[in-house]
Symmetry: C5
Subunit: 154 residues, 5 copies
């Protein structure tokens, strides 16, 4: 039985953690979920580290919705840098799912984008953990998460 | 008995450390406080590291008030990056409370914002330490610290 | 028998991993290939780390095609920073092959650039591993990968 | 007997190291000084690390005068990031004293600013080492080094 | 007998490694040289790390010529960050000699600048290794490498 960690935030305007868990359960079996919620994206790196250290997770999905201001971009950058450091410390993947508020043109699209991207990345996390050979077959195919795939250049 | 560390600066124009301690005491019991004050935000990472290493803190609140200039933004970025590194070294949370001078339109609002954000994050720190399950119930609810919550997208 | 790792992405619009393997096979012998594909460039650092740790690679080629937006530049920066950290943790080279979408003026040139740069860097990786003295003889000769070499200043 | 390290540069246009040592000697006793000078600010992190490792310093003052161009800002950022990393590796403080050439409107003011900021930070270093409780009493008082204190918001 | 490492690139348009070795030999004795050449500046950090680990270098000179575009600036930043990390891992100095293509107004000046800066920094490396007390005497004297020294503020 594998363990998949879910780390999300109270800052997000969508319950991304719940969406990720729902999608994982639709995608397959052979795992259980450990979940933690923190205030914002800068709290995610240590939250993920603790999911690996304390809960023995095999992979973690880190979900956040950074604001659209310059300072929010910097917070997201610091969080992403930390998430990569965690992965290198534990030799396990964290699938980062960040949806920036200014990627969408209104609240409705933002909610759709957050849900859609979360579901696609939950599937990615499942495949990284259980079916890595399937990802090799998708190499270079222009996959996108949330918005439409752009596809390979023919 | 848990230990909550408080690290703040002489650079700040509000005694954020005192506010944080006051709010923690109003929020609950079961902890004692260790406090340190350093010149500026770039001194906070090692100050926090020492609160964990020397004072055995279970969590630390790091408080600062970066200036509004480009160079101050860079200082805050360097400090934030260091604070994340510390957390990954000790597997414990640091709740960062930074209030940028240019977030407020005058001194009065700046003082209000610094106090308000500090109080809300002191509560967050308490919950991360004592009631993490409560934060899961608040996932995706659009919490903000200082300014008004934006709330979830319905 | 040396081991060369290949890490690429499903985000890329060209199967850069397959191109790299093809070029390596044309360039020489004395190695076998280990390949992994991940969703995007930010997943590459830990993928490379695992190629070294789990598959005992002697060198890794990390291939990605970051988008042309500001946020994609930041992702590429975070990935590159992580790739350098991995190298310092294992004392082995990762040859990074990133092709930014906005380096080319249309899809056709982008495909050409991605293939051309991948092939030239596959040769570089081979030389770093098997013929480092040849690279010393090329020091300061203005080599470029993909676009035309600019050559030395006479 | 404590050991205070002084690391400065040949790039600076003021002998900041000498000023720091002079101010330390005026401020108190109970320490001896170890000094090193390197070419530029990017050489300071390892110089400080060696002051801790080889000379057993209890605290280090790192002094530099970055130029006013964009590239100099990046050098200063890289140096600052490294200085924070050193502190986290050794659990001891480095007091960074950087004076950017474009902070002053002419050479005379630049010299004044460099000396003034160095003296104030030398006092800070002394207090961090010998009188940390005094800094807690100054929390939130709007201290500045070099230019005039802005003071607390009443 | 000390060991001085030289790491440079095939990307550079001047054989900076050869210039550095020539200058070192003119400057003094008591050392031997270990040289490695890599494709670009982002390959320098691990190359330097291996010069310390595998070749037992006491100091390394890392030479590169980043391009003038925004993306090249980011590459140089990533390389510099890595070079600082290496130094902190091994407690030895790397003297970074980067010449940005857009620092010079034409090819001729670029070649002159690259050679001149390399020679001055080769002397710096020699002094850091053999005559550190001489650098203390030059503290605050406004040294520049390549272009003319600006000198101390009187």
């Amino acid at each position: 039985m594998k363990v998949i960690g879910i780390a999300d935030t109270t800052f997000s305007r969508i319950d991304m953690g719940a969406v990720a868990i729902d999608e994982l359960r639709k995608t397959g079996t052979g795992f259980r979920v450990e979940r933690v919620t923190v205030p914002g994206v800068k709290d995610l790196p240590v939250a993920c580290k603790k999911l690996f250290a304390d809960k023995n997770c095999d992979i973690v999905i880190a979900l956040g919705m950074p604001g659209g201001e310059e300072i929010d971009k910097m917070c997201a950058h610091e969080a992403s840098t930390g998430l990569i450091q965690v992965q290198l410390m534990v030799d396990r993947h964290i699938i980062e799912v960040f949806v920036h508020e200014n990627e969408a043109k209104n609240e409705k699209e933002l909610a759709w984008l957050a849900e859609s991207r979360t579901r696609e990345h939950a599937k990615n996390a499942f495949q990284v953990l259980f079916k890595p050979e399937k990802l090799i077959r998708m190499a270079g195919t222009g996959q996108r998460q949330g918005f439409k795939d752009v596809g390979p250049i023919e």
